[in-house]
Amino acid sequence: MTSAQPLAIRAESLVKNYQTDWNGRRRRALDGVSLAVPQGGVCGLVGPNGSGKSTTLKLLAGLLQPDAGMCELLGQPVARTVAAGQVGYLPETPGLPEYLTGEEFLRELAQLSCRRSIDDQIACSLALVGLTAEAKRRVREYSKGMRQRLGLAQAVLGDPTVVLLDEPASGLDPRAADQLGDAIKQLRAQGRTVLLTSHFLPQAEEWCDQLVMLEKGRVVFDGSSAEVADSGGLNKLFLERTGP
C-alpha cells in the first residue's frame, strides 16, 4: 500500500521460526511478511488460526526478535520506540490481577511509565472504554467483556502513538463490540495508529481503513477497505485467498 503520509509501522520481509522440540526442529511462523501502515491509520490483520497474526504483533511490540527482515515503529527501531513508551499493546489473553480494582490495576501500570498526571491518564483510558462506573470494582467481579475492555484501557494508557491490539473483540457481546469500535474510532480521531488482529471479519472491515490478510506466514492480500469492498467483501476474499 502506498501513501503520502509518513509510516507509523513498517515491516520488511519478516521471517520468524519457532523451535518446536529439543532436537532443534523449527516451524516457520512468518515467511517474508511486509507491512506498511501510515500514521493515524487503522490496519486490520486477518487470517486463519496459525497464520502468523499474533507473531507479527509480538515482533512489532518487541516481545520477539525476527530471524530475518526488519521492523520499525515511527521511523525508529522497535526497541527504542517501546522504551520511549510510545507503544500500547493488548495481549491476546491479558493476565489481569484478580485482587485489584480496575483503577488500581491501571494505576500500577501508569506508575511505571506515565509522563503526565496519572489520575488524568486513568480517567481518560477508563472513559474511552466505557468502564468509568466500574473502576472501583475488583477485577474478579468483571465479566469477560469488561476484562477485555480493561485490557484495552491499559493499552491506551500513557498516550501511546502506536496501539497494537491482539484479538481485541474476543469474547465481546455485540454491544461491547460496538463500544470497542467507538473506542477505535476515537483513537483514530486522536491521530493514533492502530494495528489489530481479528477473526471477526465484518467488524474488521468496518473498523479498519487498511486490511492485511495472512495465510501460512505470508501476506496474501494488502489493500484499503475500498479495495476490499470492490473485491466483494472481506469474507469472500478470505474464502478465496486462504486454504481450507
Binding site: L64, E108, Q111
Partner: protein
C-alpha cells in the same frame, strides 16, 4: 523524559510484594508459627534433660529450613512463572521496563517475604525458649536467624534461575529442588568428585563449584565469610537468571 530506573524498580518491587501478599503469604507465615508452637507443645511432654534447649533450637530451625525452602520455591515460581504465563511481564515490558528489572524486582519481593518469615520464626523460637524457662540470648538468635536467611536467600536465587530458564511450574520447581538438594549434600558431591573416574569426577567437581554448600552457612563458619559466600553465590545466580531471561523467547 526518561522514567528514573530506581523509582521504577521501587514500584515494581511494591507491586510484586502485593502479589506475594495476595498469594496468602500471611497464612503461610502464620501456619509456620503454628506448626512450631504446636510441635513444641507436644515436645513439652518429653524429658530431654540438659539437651532440651539444643533440641528445641534444632527442631525450630529444621522446621524453618524445610518450610522456608518450600516457601521460597513456591513464591518464586508463582510470581515469576505465573507472571510470565499470565502476560503480566508483557504489560510492564511495553512500558519500558527491562526484563532484568522485572525479574530482579520479583526476586527482591520474595527476599523481603523470606526475611519476614525468618524473623517470625526466630521470634517464635525465642518465645518457645522463654516458655520452657531457658535463657534467651538475643544476639545468638539474631546470628542464627541471619544464617537461616542466607540459606533461604540462596534457595530463592536457585528458584529465580530455574524460573528464568525453564517453562512450566513443575520443571522450575523440580530444578530448584534439585539444586537445593545438591547444596544440602555438598559434602557428598565433593567426596564423589574426589573418588570418581576422570569423566564422572569432572562432572561432580563442576557441580561442586557451581552449587554452594549449605554447611558453609552453619555456626562453625565466621559470620563475615558466610555472608560473603552466600551473597556472592546469590548474586551469581541472579545474574545468570537475568542473562537467560533477557535472551529467552517467551
Amino acid at each position: 523524559m526518561k522514567f528514573p530506573a530506581i523509582r521504577r524498580m521501587w514500584w515494581l518491587v511494591q507491586q510484586a510484594l502485593r502479589e506475594v501478599m495476595h498469594l496468602r503469604f500471611v497464612w503461610i507465615a502464620g501456619l509456620t508459627a503454628l506448626v512450631m508452637i504446636a510441635g513444641v507443645a507436644v515436645l513439652r511432654e518429653f524429658n530431654f534433660g540438659a539437651e532440651e534447649k539444643r533440641f528445641l533450637c534444632d527442631y525450630a530451625e529444621a522446621t524453618l529450613a524445610l518450610w522456608g525452602t518450600v516457601t521460597a520455591i513456591v513464591l518464586n515460581v508463582s510470581v515469576v512463572q505465573g507472571g510470565v504465563e499470565r502476560g503480566a511481564w508483557v504489560m510492564a515490558f511495553v512500558r519500558g521496563v527491562r526484563r532484568p528489572e522485572w525479574l530482579i524486582s520479583r526476586g527482591l519481593a520474595v527476599g523481603v517475604a523470606l526475611a519476614w518469615l525468618t524473623l517470625l520464626g526466630y521470634l517464635v523460637l525465642g518465645l518457645i525458649l522463654a516458655w520452657h524457662g531457658h535463657a534467651v540470648l538475643v544476639r545468638e538468635l539474631a546470628m542464627a536467624g541471619g544464617r537461616m536467611y542466607l540459606r533461604l536467600a540462596l534457595v530463592s536465587s536457585f528458584a529465580l534461575l530455574t524460573c528464568a530458564a525453564s517453562s512450566g511450574f513443575l520443571m522450575a520447581s523440580g530444578l530448584a529442588l534439585g539444586l537445593t538438594l545438591a547444596a544440602q549434600l555438598a559434602s557428598i558431591v565433593e567426596w564423589a568428585g574426589r573418588h570418581s573416574g576422570t569423566t564422572a569426577g569432572w562432572g561432580w567437581r563442576l557441580l561442586d563449584w557451581l552449587v554452594p554448600a549449605f554447611q558453609v552457612l552453619e555456626a562453625g563458619t565466621p559470620a563475615a565469610y558466610a555472608l560473603i559466600y552466600a551473597t556472592g553465590y546469590a548474586a551469581l545466580y541472579a545474574l545468570l537468571a537475568c542473562l537467560i531471561f533477557s535472551r529467552r523467547e517467551i
